[in-house]
Subunit: 359 residues, 2 copies
Amino acid sequence: MRIFNFSAGPAVLPEPVLREAAAEMLDWHGSGMSVMEMSHRGKEFIGIADKAQSDLRTLLAIPNNYKVLFLQGGAIAENAIIPMNLLKEKSAADYVNTGEWSKKSIKEARKYCAVNVAASAEDKKFTYVPPQESWKLSKGAAYVHVCTNETIGGVEYHWTPDTGDVPLVADMSSHILSRAIDISRFGVIYGGAQKNVGPAGLTLVIVRDDLLDQALPITPSAFNWKEQAEADSMVNTPATYAIYIAGLVFEWLKGQGGVPAIEKQNIAKAALLYDFLDRSDFYSNPVRKEDRSRMNVPFRLRDESLDEAFLKGAKERGMVQLKGHRAVGGMRASIYNAMPVEGVRALVEYMGEFEKRHG
Amino acid sequence: MRIFNFSAGPAVLPEPVLREAAAEMLDWHGSGMSVMEMSHRGKEFIGIADKAQSDLRTLLAIPNNYKVLFLQGGAIAENAIIPMNLLKEKSAADYVNTGEWSKKSIKEARKYCAVNVAASAEDKKFTYVPPQESWKLSKGAAYVHVCTNETIGGVEYHWTPDTGDVPLVADMSSHILSRAIDISRFGVIYGGAQKNVGPAGLTLVIVRDDLLDQALPITPSAFNWKEQAEADSMVNTPATYAIYIAGLVFEWLKGQGGVPAIEKQNIAKAALLYDFLDRSDFYSNPVRKEDRSRMNVPFRLRDESLDEAFLKGAKERGMVQLKGHRAVGGMRASIYNAMPVEGVRALVEYMGEFEKRHG
């Protein structure tokens, strides 16, 4: 029996995707092979990768002057790969610090350049997005880096920063494909796949053409965006099976009505949970309302000593992975695209019952 | 219907592994989740990763003073990651050049250090392994790098170099787990998974403890062996599904009788094909007999104009991916662990028939 899996990532995938993957495991479309066994340079896999890219371009309305790369290593590797690829002519970059993932990006970037923290929400325990008028951007920065959805703190940008001529670089790991975005406002968008895209081990990079020639000589070939763009992401053997699953997710998303339709569902799912939290004195979410994440909803029980009982009762009802990240404690419900509204309803219902029993 | 897939990688996987993966796709062991959906820090996945590592340690008899890392990026990424992790106190390394994969390693290493090519087989078109007495090792090299099986040229070391106190670093991508090796003779062993281990997107690194503290400051955290060793390969989210499939492959291999048993099969499979090639004037293999790869068997037809007809006929009989790498041309049969002897027999039979018809 399938359960409701609120994991922050790797996370729940659409059931039809898993059914198709299971059915095709031994013989993809009469090829006599599993996708896992296909040469990445064979016509079968190239077809799969091309379709995945093309569907992603459609879903996100990616302009033609942006390259889509399917790489490896996740956002944590990319935290190093970004400065490597962008620092050829500059020696500094601006970072906005909105939480744990911003901090990781900043720490890694310091290996390669001077980092100016243009704004930080640390003063209020990362419960908001610093408004742009408070940012202190530096002169001569190679780029401005933001994490547009903090998976751990549950803080999301619901607006797009304006950094003028300086390229805006965004870690969108945990909310890409959850809502419409204007790609043309960004220089680079990147993310690990293991939330709304597919299995862990695949990294998406969407990069504007004119930024492809700024790599430091120390950039490994496997992570050099220009080399990868010229080689259709096949400088090294790509994570072929993960690309295939991502392609199935993109197809599923198109069948759901694309990003605008899933965004509506996501708004409704998030409202269900936040409205419940706001009506309750027993549970609380610390994030400023305008900056709350639709994907990751951290919450606390008034009485921490009930945490274990809460998790145990949830598990008995088939709801798992609700424990908050160790950096912040409490609970967290990640409600990505593939989490059905029934899962959120079941959670809210359980939370109500638990409150009645223990409140 | 399943076919015989002679791809050099990603390559054929054991059919029982694919059957189990298909059966467990929607619900792994009653967890209600696909392995793809599991948090990498949950007890289910940690159990999967621990068992995979423990089985690999058993299969390869890995001593306790070696760490096993499950990373990402394949051998091409590792070509940069190796010098990054080993050059802290030195500025040069020795490389032995036995073919296309050695050349890639050398080219990448030159970004980080002075490379001394200690020996090269380029004089005879990479058809042999230069004997160790011809190697000109340098003084003060951080390590000596070899590629112990050249996937494209079909050249394999059937002996282990002795580099004294200088760590021996080996790219074993395309023959790891195909035969017994004495791990203790190596400082670092690495390889992409997509031949004998599992799906593309997973990199194995086996590194001796005392080499874990030699990284350059520019090493990305996701690829810093020491950080990854301390974090059980979870500095970043690992390629969880690929690790799961690798674990199933390791179980299958244990069921086959382990590495000594599969080595016997591999010797028999390779002999079947090479003996046939050596008896024929119609086909030829250019590699010196003592240095021939058991995994990758390149061969040529006397008359190149028949190449297309050969490939077409093979495909009609359910044998695919026999075209040689574009760097060397001709044909190549990759006969990894998961290629059943029946596949090699079918190939040899077809080659005999084709020769009779066209010879």
